[in-house]
């Protein structure tokens, strides 16, 4: 679904052939993946298709970001809520919603029309809402056990930050739809702010939050492997660079932030590898996978950083355009 060179490449107005080729590939893959029918005629853009704008390109990148996050949440909540025996019917919600968000993201990635897609928009809104409600559930779950809000329960009850990942996916999707709507020739905005800045700050904030979650769980694991410091150093530092680039501008700040986002994206992927190794270090290792997938470090979570880094890269494209 993701082609890294494409994602990491800064987009320019009047895109070059390489970007178009890559997008064409993505779109082919995406149409193969989706089972949804073609966009209904009413929702299809009016008039002859214009050359795709940078804004739509960024919107599509955001769809990739929201998709990666949704995929991470889908697999993670499937594992964790299965571990919790789906004790509460509401525990199915993140599975359903993240599946929808994933589908909408794939659809959006393949769709280069500069217009809001109502169904997608609804799904992303729902997704963001689910994340907020889920956070409420998790907060309640932590405090509801003996001892209330003490370290023990933050460590071992429902992970307090996890539902925010799906909320972020929803917000990124929502931003993507807002971006597409940008009239030609006007600077893109999000919720009344300059789009590049808004997306950068939101991404930086999300990275900080996700870092908090990683810190809590890696602290529980006592940072017993030095690589466990990766997600609590690289992403927040990169987030800070991104915020800096957004607030103060300048090509060198943007390059630094871009390097940070690339590092964060790679760290997310590497994290999956480390977590797989972590499973191997549990009693019985992979031979005992039915237990250790549940009790070992969660394999699906580190790519959430990759998803956020993709959003950061999209933000950098927008910043670049703004500053140029």
């Amino acid at each position: 679904m993701i082609s890294l060179p494409d994602l990491l490449m800064p987009s320019r107005s009047g895109r070059d052939a390489r970007a178009r080729r890559a997008l064409a590939t993505l779109s082919r893959q995406a149409s193969a993946l989706r089972s949804a029918p073609r966009v209904p005629a009413v929702l299809a853009p009016k008039g002859p298709p214009a050359a795709k704008s940078v804004v739509v390109g960024s919107a599509q990148k955001l769809n990739q970001a929201s998709g990666v996050l949704a995929f991470s949440v889908l697999t993670d909540s499937a594992l964790e809520h299965y571990r919790g025996s789906f004790r509460n019917r509401a525990m199915f919600t993140p599975l359903v919603v993240s599946t929808l968000a994933l589908a909408a993201s794939v659809h959006g990635t393949a769709d280069d029309r500069p217009d809001v897609h109502v169904a997608r928009d609804v799904v992303f809104g729902l997704t963001a809402l689910t994340g907020l409600i889920g956070t409420g559930f998790h907060v309640y779950n932590v405090g509801s056990r003996q001892g209330g809000y003490r370290w023990l329960n933050f460590f071992y009850r429902a992970p307090i930050g996890a539902p925010m990942a799906i909320a972020i996916s929803g917000v990124l999707g929502n931003m993507s739809e807002r971006l597409r709507r940008t009239p030609r020739g006007t600077p893109p905005t999000l919720y009344g702010l300059d789009a590049g800045k808004a997306l950068s700050l939101f991404t930086a904030l999300s990275l900080a939050g996700t870092t908090g979650e990683a810190w809590l769980l890696h602290f529980r694991g006592n940072f017993q492997n030095p690589f466990m410091y990766t997600p609590v150093t690289i992403p927040p530092a990169s987030g800070a660079l991104l915020a800096d680039a957004a607030l103060r501008g300048g090509a060198s700040r943007r390059s630094a932030a871009r390097a940070g986002m690339i590092a964060t994206a790679l760290a997310g992927l590497a994290g999956t590898g480390f977590h797989m190794r972590g499973v191997a270090r549990m009693m019985g290792g992979w031979r005992n996978w039915t237990q250790n997938l549940l009790d070992g470090p969660p394999i699906p979570t580190p790519p959430a950083f990759t998803g956020l880094a993709l959003a950061g890269l999209a933000a950098l494209d927008l910043l670049e355009r703004r500053d140029d």
Binding site: Q146, W151, L152, G221, N222, Q224, R281, M283, D295
Partner: protein, 562 residues
């Protein structure tokens, strides 16, 4: 004997590897690596006719730590243990009865008004000692416990400052990667535990609930089992077989921590090697020890001897080593070897919950309160902790058949409630009394050595403490919602005393360096040096003392006083 068993391949009575129990494994320059199935460490070996710097008797909480530290300091060390060298990953069965091989079940005689029940609850016979099957509760004694006589008005003072002990506690906790709460609610501040606390099982949550109802503090128990991976040890899998040996190596016993350290640093470990006598020369100095291995008595020469066989075997060995110069036993000019034996009270209350608890899941004591160690408004001396419980089925059945005398249908009915049971058990400080002793009986064991006679009687203070704890724990259990609460008023566990340390050669067996007052090249390094036993489980204190003793020995050596 060993050949017969090996060639006959008799049906295994236990799940344990019989070979390990009849043929030494640590030999020919290698010793088992407990973390790798079939794996070995290279091991340095020492000649018997060349005096090693230290010959250590026992490889448990005291001996295991000391062997590693002395070897790391560059001394030549041979550590002997009467027990086998197990490979937990391969040898340990998930079967309570099979695992009884871990206990010291050699013949002993018990008497007194309250004879001790010896075996599973208070002994170990293996490389790694009792820590191979201990419950891993790793606590510090409160500062005042080291000055019981001056600060609290009973027992005797330790010849060690509490701050020094607390320094070594931190070192021991770090070495064992104790998993404990982020901040501990009682006593002076201590560093954060090296690993995070374990999650609580339902039995532990019951303790928490009751404690909160009664308005006392509780916390997650500091435990010597991992909450995250460490090297080749995986984190705990919460299956609850801890007290019959941990088959995953999550438990940070001496066998998987200090013993490998000792061997890597050049120490030699001799398993299935029962030491029967310490030899002394005309000047009264120790020259080495006689030990039984491979069906024969052998002699190892040594410049220094350390006894670390725990509170029954240590005095027994000293008494069995009497000579012309030491007529009443080695190191016994004070007449106190074998005296002031202490156990810890381990009484319990049990009750039923409506909901399923499954108390055996996880280490047995995941939650704790030290309230009655730190609250001084009591009508007795000393203090106690109490913790949540999770006995395994056979152990639980034996509580019914033993303490309650149930059998047949009544026993069956009780056992059917197993998954709904909860309990609280205390570990309480019993008073040091001169009349509680380890002496030699006339009987002999399989090696032809005189067996220990263990005499024990509770004093009024012990009884008052037991009554207090039963009453309080009963109220707490009821407050947590348990029904049909009943008492088990007679259990005891850990041992201490019998070679007490002190400032005065007339009132103690060893000095502050844990060195014998009488025999300057003889040390004691185990629970027997405790002048008082405190209201917490003893292993961490034994380990901290062993770390300290190693430093003391190094200092003595540097000053040329060894």
């Amino acid at each position: 004997m060993s050949d017969k068993i090996l060639t006959n391949r008799e049906p295994l009575r236990s799940g344990l590897d019989l070979e390990a129990m009849h043929r030494p494994r640590a030999r020919n320059g290698r010793a088992p690596d407990p973390h790798v199935p079939g794996g070995w460490f290279p091991m340095r070996e020492h000649r018997e006719d060349e005096a090693v710097d230290f010959a250590i008797v026992g490889t448990g909480a005291g001996g295991g730590v000391l062997a590693a530290r002395l070897a790391e300091m560059g001394f030549s060390v041979v550590a002997f243990d009467a027990g086998p060298y197990f490979r937990p990953l391969e040898d340990f069965a998930s079967d309570e009865t099979a695992q009884s091989q871990l206990f010291w079940t050699d013949r002993r005689v018990t008497d007194g008004e309250n004879p001790l029940k010896l075996g599973s609850n208070n002994s170990g016979k293996a490389v790694g000692g009792s820590t191979v099957h201990y419950a891993m509760v790793a606590l510090r004694q409160r500062p005042e416990s080291f000055r019981s006589r001056t600060k609290q008005g009973f027992g005797a003072d330790w010849p060690v400052d509490w701050r020094e002990m607390w320094h070594y506690y931190a070192e021991a906790e770090e070495a064992l990667k104790i998993s404990g709460p982020i901040s501990y609610p009682w006593g002076p501040s201590r560093p954060r535990y090296p690993y995070r606390q374990h999650d609580l099982n339902a039995a532990a949550l019951t303790l928490a609930k009751g404690a909160e109802k009664l308005g006392i503090k509780w916390t997650e128990t500091p435990l010597a089992t991992l909450s995250a991976p460490r090297g080749k040890s995986p984190p705990c899998v919460y299956r609850g077989f801890c007290r019959v040996g941990c088959s995953t190596n999550a438990k940070q016993s001496m066998l998987v921590t200090f013993i490998p350290r000792a061997i890597k640093a050049g120490a030699e470990v001799r398993d299935l090697a029962m030491v029967g006598r310490i030899e002394t020369d005309k000047q009264g100095l120790a020259t080495g020890l006689h030990y039984h291995r491979d069906g024969a008595w052998r002699f190892q020469r040594a410049r220094n001897v350390v006894v670390a066989g725990y509170a029954i075997e240590t005095p027994r060995l000293l008494l069995n080593s009497a000579s012309d110069r030491h007529r009443h036993g080695l190191a016994n000019s004070s007449g106190l070897v074998g005296k002031y034996l202490m156990t810890q009270s381990n009484v319990a209350v049990w009750g039923e919950m409506d909901e399923e608890v499954r108390w055996n899941k996880g280490p047995p004591s995941l939650a704790i309160t030290e309230h009655w160690n730190y609250d001084d408004s009591k009508d007795f001396f000393g203090g106690y902790i109490h913790m949540s419980q999770g006995p395994l089925p056979v152990e639980w059945a034996s509580v019914h058949t033993g303490a309650r005398g149930l059998w047949g249908k009544a026993l069956q009915d009780e056992m059917a409630k197993y998954n709904h049971m909860v309990g609280l058990k205390m570990v309480g400080e019993m008073m040091p009394q001169e009349r509680n002793t380890v002496t030699l009986a006339d009987e002999e064991d399989q090696y032809g050595l005189k067996v220990a006679r263990v005499t024990y009687s509770w004093c009024d203070n012990d009884k008052a403490m037991i009554e207090h704890s039963l009453d309080f724990m009963g109220r707490q259990l009821e407050a947590s919602g348990a029904r049909n609460v009943w008492r088990q008023p007679d259990d005891t566990n850990h041992l201490a005393g019998t070679a007490r340390m002190g400032d005065n050669r007339r009132t103690s067996v060893v000095d502050t360096n844990c060195r014998s007052w009488d025999v300057p090249n003889l040390f004691v390094c185990d629970g027997s040096v405790f002048p008082t036993t405190g209201g917490v489980n003893p292993s961490l204190t034994i380990q901290a003392l062993a770390l300290r003793t190693a430093d003391r020995i190094q200092a003595l050596a540097r000053r040329g006083e060894l």
